[in-house]
Symmetry: C2
DNA sequence: GAAACTTTTGCACACGCTTGCAAGAGCGAG
DNA sequence: CTCGCTCTTGCAAGCGTGTGCAAAAGTTTC
């Protein structure tokens, strides 16, 4: 191990000819220091390359400034853009994001939260998986803030951010109807994430409401390749759907590509497609996918601003609506 | 501010009826504790929900376990997958990733490194921008490890990971020639990142080597939309290129889409395209892009494993080769 | 049973910082 | 000059750990 030799407040104090407290106060907003002392301290700090040790500060203040982001498959477009938005908002709030990768297993979300506790994170934001209740209770009991995004299960003391998934799916169904579609399908992954299931149920319920059949197909993880398989299954049915609602844009891209290249179908003429998330690729001219946009920036803003609000004992729900972005994958926008 | 009340080693010690040192040793691998004491400590810790305070431990050991990832535009596919790979390798090495977003300005890379120092990070990995020499010197002097990925500028005491960009570009040129192309172009962004410029120069040099003209166009950030503009400029030239090497896959996607949809060109018949990075989208059937693959996982592995190796004074270079992934965007792979 | 040795344990200090407290410095009013 | 006031400053305690040191406990050997 390399010997680290960071410069400490003591050294700055010695060089500036003041006490350690003085340099501490210089770097503490709102503390009482004279103009002159501050100048000398800053000068000495600059010369030595001094930077306050946030670890020690966190230890004293009982507030580390660290916020853990717990996420799997973080290279997925939607996840990546959410991470980006959150990290930006955190930095604006003078906090810092710690990234915990939970790719390995579902249990690893619990491990992640323990890590968050170990680093005395001020808060944790969970984007993937669902932690065990005993762990979230421990977090909350320890005074950590906890935000669950698209998890849709109640946890005491946490903020739960969700979308109106069911209602969005219903709006999607109606859009298909307006476009003159007659045979409706829902393409889902088989991971069973609450928000994905809510979309499926919403779409199904809409079918029931209008007395129309909905075929549902589920397969694999929520990725492009699953979309390929789903399209192959759906488009070889005896009655071929002319409308497919995909649980997410990645699936939709796979579905569209397969419909076009393998089945030689034209979108939207032969097949209408709607997705969910509004990832960047959906706007590319190969797709021009009509989709529901996740309000990524608002989610990030809501999550971060909640972190600095006074704690309430009960859990708090925050439901946002996903706006439908009209492009070319549905007839007659 | 919420009052945080984490349980400390003292409380565990009291409950277990041992000294505080005992519990400290229980959680220190290789320390001397009897089987019996360890059991009682673990029991008490479990009951109270105790977790070692990594902040305090870092303070004592002078080793925080934190590694800063300094990156802008982290929702870009290549960046996102690199971040994912690095975070996974870090966790395997019992370290934790701190994510610093430098979207705002180039100066903010320096700010990011100062933040890394403040949190006494064991190391920083720079994926975007180029920090000022005075800052990197301070990092190294403080005993921090520093990894620069695709930055291609020497820094004392740092590990610099780069690809053989020029050579790859040359191989690309030859592939175009074999495919029977006659009019060569290079599509670049105008951000001037060293690795992007190296690819451009390599391609240019190859043209010179074979006595063939290369037209170069630069525009905007390194994104899809810039690819659209670049295609529009290149494909309206009096002599239309039939081979375009794109500095990266995102540009290539924009170029391909525009060539096909706006100019009604067939790829690869009318136009051959090569990209760089091998992002996921390149394998989607709408693109089937022939491209040079960044060895993302090897980069991450190399970076992380270097962190635990003894420090050398001089900088260290690590050059990897990008393998050409043959798909359908060049004739006759 | 005692000596020689190993293993375990508690004490106390150190890490770098914040902050309450009381003493000091400056200053205008009387 | 002295009193009372405000603004600064240093002292020292404390945050939750790790670890060297010496004492205590346990184990082996003769």
């Amino acid at each position: 191990m390399s010997q680290k030799i960071f410069v400490s407040a003591k050294e700055v104090a010695d060089l500036a000819g003041v006490s350690r407290s003085a340099v501490s106060r210089t770097f503490t907003p709102g503390a009482s220091v004279s103009k002159e002392t501050r100048r000398r301290v800053m000068e000495a700090a600059e010369a030595l390359g001094y930077h306050v040790n946030h670890l020690a500060r966190g230890l004293m203040r009982n507030e580390s400034g660290i916020v853990c982001l717990i996420v799997s498959e973080m290279d997925t477009p939607y996840r990546a853009s959410l991470i980006r938005a959150i990290s930006r908002h955190l930095q604006n709030a003078s906090k810092i994001a710690m990234l915990i990768n939970t790719d390995r297993s579902d249990r690893s979300v619990d491990e992640a939260l323990k890590l968050a506790i170990s680093y005395r994170a001020d808060a944790s934001i969970v984007l993937s998986g669902m932690p065990d209740k005993s762990i979230t209770d421990l977090c909350v009991k320890s005074g950590q803030r906890l935000v669950l995004i698209n998890r849709d299960e109640e946890r005491q003391g946490a903020l739960m951010i969700n979308l109106h998934d069911r209602e969005a799916a219903r709006r999607g169904f109606i859009a298909f109807q307006r476009a003159g579609c007659r045979s409706f399908a829902f393409a889902n992954s088989d991971v069973g994430t609450p928000s994905l299931m809510a979309r499926e149920e919403g779409f199904r319920a809409a079918g029931q409401e209008f007395g129309l059949d909905v075929t549902v197909e589920r397969f694999g993880p929520t990725r492009y390749q699953s979309g390929v398989v789903l399209a192959q299954r759906l488009l070889t049915r005896e009655v071929r759907p002319d409308a497919i609602f995909c649980a997410n844009d990645l699936l939709a891209c796979g579905v569209m590509d397969t419909a076009r290249h393998q089945f030689k179908l034209a979108v939207p003429c032969d097949l209408c497609v709607i997705g969910f998330d509004d990832i960047e690729q959906s706007s590319w001219s190969s797709y021009q996918l009509t989709t529901f946009a996740q309000p990524v920036d608002r989610i990030a803003e809501e999550a971060v601003s909640w972190l600095s609000q006074p704690m309430t004992d009960s859990g708090q729900f925050c439901r946002m609506t996903a706006d439908l972005v009209w492009r070319e994958s549905v007839k007659g926008g």
